[in-house]
Symmetry: C2
Subunit: 343 residues, 2 copies
Amino acid sequence: MARRPSNDTGTRPVSMADVARAAGVSQQTVSRVANGLPNVNEQTRQRVQAAMQELGFRPSYAGRSLRDGRYHSVGLCVNDVTKFGNLSMIDGIASAAREHNCAITLVEMSKTEEFSLAEATRRMAALPVDGIIIGMSRMAPDFETFNPLPGIGTVIVTMYAHPRVTTVDSDHYGCSLLLMDHLFELGHEQIRYIGGPSFSVDEQFRRAGWQDALERKHIEPAEPLEGDWSANSGYEAGRYLAENDRTMTAIYAANDQMANGAIAALRDSGLRVPEDVSVVGVDDSLDDFVAHNELTTVRFDLHQRGREVFEHAVPEAGTAGKTVAIRIPGQLIVRHTTAAHRV
Amino acid sequence: MARRPSNDTGTRPVSMADVARAAGVSQQTVSRVANGLPNVNEQTRQRVQAAMQELGFRPSYAGRSLRDGRYHSVGLCVNDVTKFGNLSMIDGIASAAREHNCAITLVEMSKTEEFSLAEATRRMAALPVDGIIIGMSRMAPDFETFNPLPGIGTVIVTMYAHPRVTTVDSDHYGCSLLLMDHLFELGHEQIRYIGGPSFSVDEQFRRAGWQDALERKHIEPAEPLEGDWSANSGYEAGRYLAENDRTMTAIYAANDQMANGAIAALRDSGLRVPEDVSVVGVDDSLDDFVAHNELTTVRFDLHQRGREVFEHAVPEAGTAGKTVAIRIPGQLIVRHTTAAHRV
DNA sequence: AATGGGTATGTTAACGTACTCATAACACAA
DNA sequence: TTGTGTTATGAGTACGTTAACATACCCATT
């Protein structure tokens, strides 16, 4: 590891001491000017600022952090930046972080392999972070046994509750109930389910909500189908259902992309949406990609989730954290892919 | 700013000195154990590791950085995390950063207002970063006059070249030439353009490519239309063209989302794609959202761009940077929304 | 027994910052 | 003149780490 030269001839960054020497004041006075403290003679201040400008002074983050014991950054660990769930998490947290004048230190773990919470924590803890946020979009192998590092706020974004760690997530179970109630009110009972990959935590809870809603009404759930969140997988599932299930009157696809694919498949099979089959999705993510988006869906307040996550990871002094499990409800958006079941 | 208590009764983080005291060794030995250096007696090593475990030691990033003069993180400044261009930038850079065992320090500036490069640089420079990357998706007011901070690598992701800063981007001009050549080969000449918002740098270059390609063939470009990148804006533009331009045989939409909207509009207007009108887009972004994506488009290698960006922002020792302007070519993906123009 | 070379460990210094305290200069009232 | 308070500035210190150097010990070879 190359070391910077410690004399003035090299390319070592400019420190307050360098500025002080140039301006003929003490290092402490430079500190005062840099931080805009009041008790500095106007003339001195200008001389120091000129020296800063001249030398290209930039305050050392390391020195400041070492002194203050704070980093003004929150660590975020995800497996794949581009997945809708993770992306919206980053967006929400970025917005909350900005409100607190805080940066985000982002680490992307393996896109494909699962990772342990212990490993993620260890890795994040070596970075300049005041709190740690881990996106657990698939079940970690050590979730049950995991112990958060003492002395640093830790939040896991997931639907599973944990006895020793605060977890926050959109309510991926409740969204199913919202949609199912909507379909029940329209008279539907034979409601098929197209889910995401079964290792996905979101999938597990959305599916559980679908199943519980049916069972609560004493309807036997038909076999759920498994997609991969993509429109193509939704298309295939929709095609299969159109050709094999004459009793189905509605489809619940676990995200909008698959719902969009399913709608295309139904129409290709000669079925009308919503007249013959109603379709619902989750996420409200189609607007940018599809003209005249008509899909009934659930929208989550991702910014609120970001705020909750952030504020539990970096608690204000005094708000020191009891372990909680926060579920942020979604909002039903009724558009035109659902209609009353005609008896 | 609350200060940590410096005695052992408080909640000050555990330092190497604390571990050393507990294990009855010097602090330097703890450092050796923490860094896995060889010259430590096995028995001592175990005693130290036990003490670390016991006390919950986590190495101080600030102390280490102050000592090393490196942060092992690269700063990334964007205006809106969720925009396709920025998202793909984050993804590409995250992947390159991981290869270098490096984190990303992400700062989101205002989503809507423009920001100056000087402001972005000042803000990033106060963070733990070994290099600065700024996504300039719209022209910064101080682009011409901007001077990068000496002593820290700076890269701007944009198509504009700069005399004092390395800029890297996907070739948003060249992609237009690829698409136009493809359409020319199919016999199209009346090629209308649906662009993004005119403040967008990507838009400016994609549009310039379209215009230059036509003028090179001595074809007078018809008035370009302006959308907002969304499928709905593409739909509106497509509808307008279908109703008002009988001579048009092809549409170049500046991204896939608008292209998708335009196709829907053409079909709603009774025109067939590609038999009556060919349509092309850019980005290859539809796959997840649309089943049976048939759009002819250009795909960019975003990971390569990420690598280029990263490696110019954090140059290896010795590769010290001359200012360059790197344009990474896209790849034409021919699907089924383009066909030969029937005379 | 003396020398030399390896191994394990300790000591010192430096990185840049900002808090605390001390000091100096000055104004003003008693 | 002396005392009191205000303002500007400097000196000293601690934050946690690691490179460089120093020491102490053991074992093998002269």
